[in-house]
């Protein structure tokens, strides 16, 4: 059934499921769903974001985040951030501290800066990865920000925003069956459900292929200089995955599917109704550097 603005009831419900369900969230949903009923994902890139050692510059990251949030919400500066965060929120920034390709301190601190700027008290914001279940801020969190890099992964195809919440499970390895097919189920755990306010898929130096026990080889990491930002984690992952797949095609000179495939992203949509994976239902808003975007 079509709504007046062209959004189907299912699309609206999917986004509500991904985001939560409060009145505040529904305004965000409407802002992030385009007039043609597509889920909006922001791809922001800046070729100057990395320093000479390949580390991201926090001031450039901050600007990229601000630009992306403005495009996502339709409001500039802090007003954009205030559409999904308020001073009374208790905010957990779920990061990823994998040794070789972390979320990076620059991204973590830039996000924390904006959370504080919105008026959240310093004692009400925390950054954590493996310790989220024991972290008192995460335990009482009213809002989560999900930030991690995308990389080829041994068993789930890619490490994704969806997968980043696996540490909220007391038994993470219990989600590994069938190449992590049902990872989106983690998002229904009470500590998580309905709390995610923003997703930031870090594509500054993504990894498109993995090998060896550490699943890391710098040969397969490249400077993409991007962040993918949205309210819908599945849509963000879907866009990131297409970039990874495109890079594999370019690098290997032929079609080279991820092995195992990243089917948890599709199933997050079709089975778990966490968000939108179908590229035809996603609108990518591009900001900044646009060479070799691969999408």
């Amino acid at each position: 059934m079509k709504a007046k603005n062209g959004i189907t009831r299912r699309q609206f419900n999917l986004s509500i499921t991904a985001l939560g369900g409060t009145a505040l969230l529904s305004r965000r949903v409407l802002a992030a769903i385009t007039a043609v009923g597509k889920t909006k994902v922001i791809l922001v890139r800046d070729a100057t974001v990395l320093d000479e050692k390949g580390k991201p510059k926090q001031n450039v990251v901050l600007k990229m985040l601000d630009d992306a949030v403005a495009a996502l919400t339709g409001k500039k500066g802090l007003d954009g951030w205030k559409t999904f965060l308020g001073p009374k929120d208790v905010v957990g920034i779920k990061t990823n501290r994998w040794t070789y390709l972390p979320t990076t301190e620059a991204v973590e601190l830039a996000l924390k800066q904006r959370v504080l700027d919105v008026g959240v008290k310093a004692q009400d914001v925390a950054i954590d990865d493996h310790g989220v279940l024991d972290n008192p801020v995460f335990q009482r969190a009213t809002a989560l920000i999900n930030a991690r890099p995308m990389r080829a992964h041994h068993w789930s195809g890619v490490g994704s925003l969806i997968k980043n919440y696996i540490m909220f499970s007391p038994n993470p390895s219990s989600w590994h069956d069938d190449s992590c097919a049902d990872l989106a189920g983690v998002w229904s755990l009470p500590i998580v459900k309905g709390k995610t306010r923003l997703n930031v898929l870090v594509m500054l130096t993504p990894q498109f292929h993995g090998v060896g026990p550490q699943n890391f080889n710098p040969k397969y990491v490249w400077g993409y200089y991007g962040l993918i930002i949205g309210f819908d984690p599945v849509a963000c992952d879907s866009v990131g995955l297409r970039i990874i797949e495109a890079k594999r095609r370019v690098f290997f000179g032929e079609e080279r599917p991820l092995a195992p495939p990243a089917k948890h992203i599709t199933l997050a949509d079709t089975q778990h109704h966490l968000g939108t994976a179908d590229p035809s239902k996603i609108e990518i808003v591009r900001i900044g550097y646009d060479r070799d975007s691969l999408i």
């Binding site: 390895s173 090998v211 060896g212 026990p213 550490q214 080889n217 710098p218 080279r256 195992p260």
Partner: protein
């Protein structure tokens, strides 16, 4: 380090197993797993260049591998992982060389783990190796080894090779490559593309066949994927050896019914796919440019 039964004992155990007709794979795996282990902790060099060996290694088994490479453990478990000895040679904060020595239980597992994901082929260390960007991987006998020096520097690269060669020297035995590799036709074979596996999730390395397991690939089957590049065409070949003809027939039926629309040759995506059975073996041509190429590829494997 643990030193269990000698090579002679292992040999006797294998012969006994064969004599009484026990299933080959489990016996092979368990017998080898009980084999003598090189004393990696004691005999690896205390220093390599400026990098110093830790006082003791970290050890992992099938239950604790998640603690080390959570999320990556399944891949190695699928190849028969038994245990790991890991070291971090350090030369100060954030300056380390990571050494992972994985006991895969058999040469079958070690080769499979090594071949998964590799993009080049060399024999600089062990029975097959690959180096790039600071990462050296190789296999020898039942061991799969990774030595990672990142970020890569010239001195670290030398240290990585020195450590890898020291590990290889401590492994006295060599293992046979999986027998199924011998059935791959040679013309046009891209050697570095060869992948062996025993889990259906690894069947899609080059072409997405299915997210399910229509071929019935499991620990009892031997499967190999390889890419071929020939003048004017390229394709992928997959062979699957089953324990029995009945299993092979079932696998063929699964593929034809769920993937090929009940045909033996069909177009799937941009390429053609075809399958034939030869006794206990399925021969599957993938991503071929035409039906004629499929027929030719299938005819090359007896």
């Amino acid at each position: 380090m643990l030193n269990a039964p000698t090579t002679v004992v292992r040999s006797v155990m294998l012969r006994l197993a064969a004599a009484v007709g026990l299933a080959l794979i489990p016996v092979h795996t368990s017998a080898l797993a009980a084999d003598a282990r090189p004393d990696f902790a004691g005999k690896l060099p205390a220093h390599v260049g400026e990098w110093k060996k830790p006082t003791k290694p970290a050890l992992y088994d099938r239950k604790t591998l998640y603690d080390y490479i959570d999320g990556g453990a399944e891949l190695y478990l699928a190849f028969g992982f038994v245990g790991a000895v890991t070291f971090e040679y350090t030369a100060g904060k954030d300056d380390e060389i990571k050494v992972d020595i994985f006991d895969m239980g058999s040469p079958r597992g070690a080769f499979g783990a090594f071949a998964h994901g590799r993009e080049s082929i060399a024999a600089e260390v062990g029975q097959g190796s690959e180096y790039g960007g600071g990462l050296l991987t190789f296999w020898k006998y039942r061991w799969f080894i990774s030595v990672l020096g990142y970020p890569e520097t010239e001195s670290k690269r030398k240290a990585v090779y020195e450590l890898a060669r020291a590990i290889a020297a401590l492994i006295s035995e060599t293992g046979s490559s999986p027998v199924i590799l011998g059935a791959l036709p040679r013309p046009g074979l891209v050697e570095a593309s060869v992948r062996t596996f025993h889990h259906h999730l690894l069947q899609n390395d080059y072409v997405t066949i299915s997210y399910e397991n229509p071929l019935g690939i499991d620990e009892r089957t031997e499967a190999v994927l390889a890419r071929y590049v020939r003048p004017g065409e390229r394709h992928v070949l997959m062979l699957v050896d089953y324990p029995t003809e009945a299993d092979a027939k079932k696998g063929q039926r699964g593929l034809t019914e769920s993937v090929l629309g009940s045909a033996t040759v069909a177009k799937k995506g941009d390429g053609w796919v075809g399958v034939k059975r030869s006794g206990k073996r399925l021969v599957i041509a993938l991503d071929a440019p035409s039906r004629q190429i499929v027929d030719h590829v299938l005819s090359e494997v007896p």
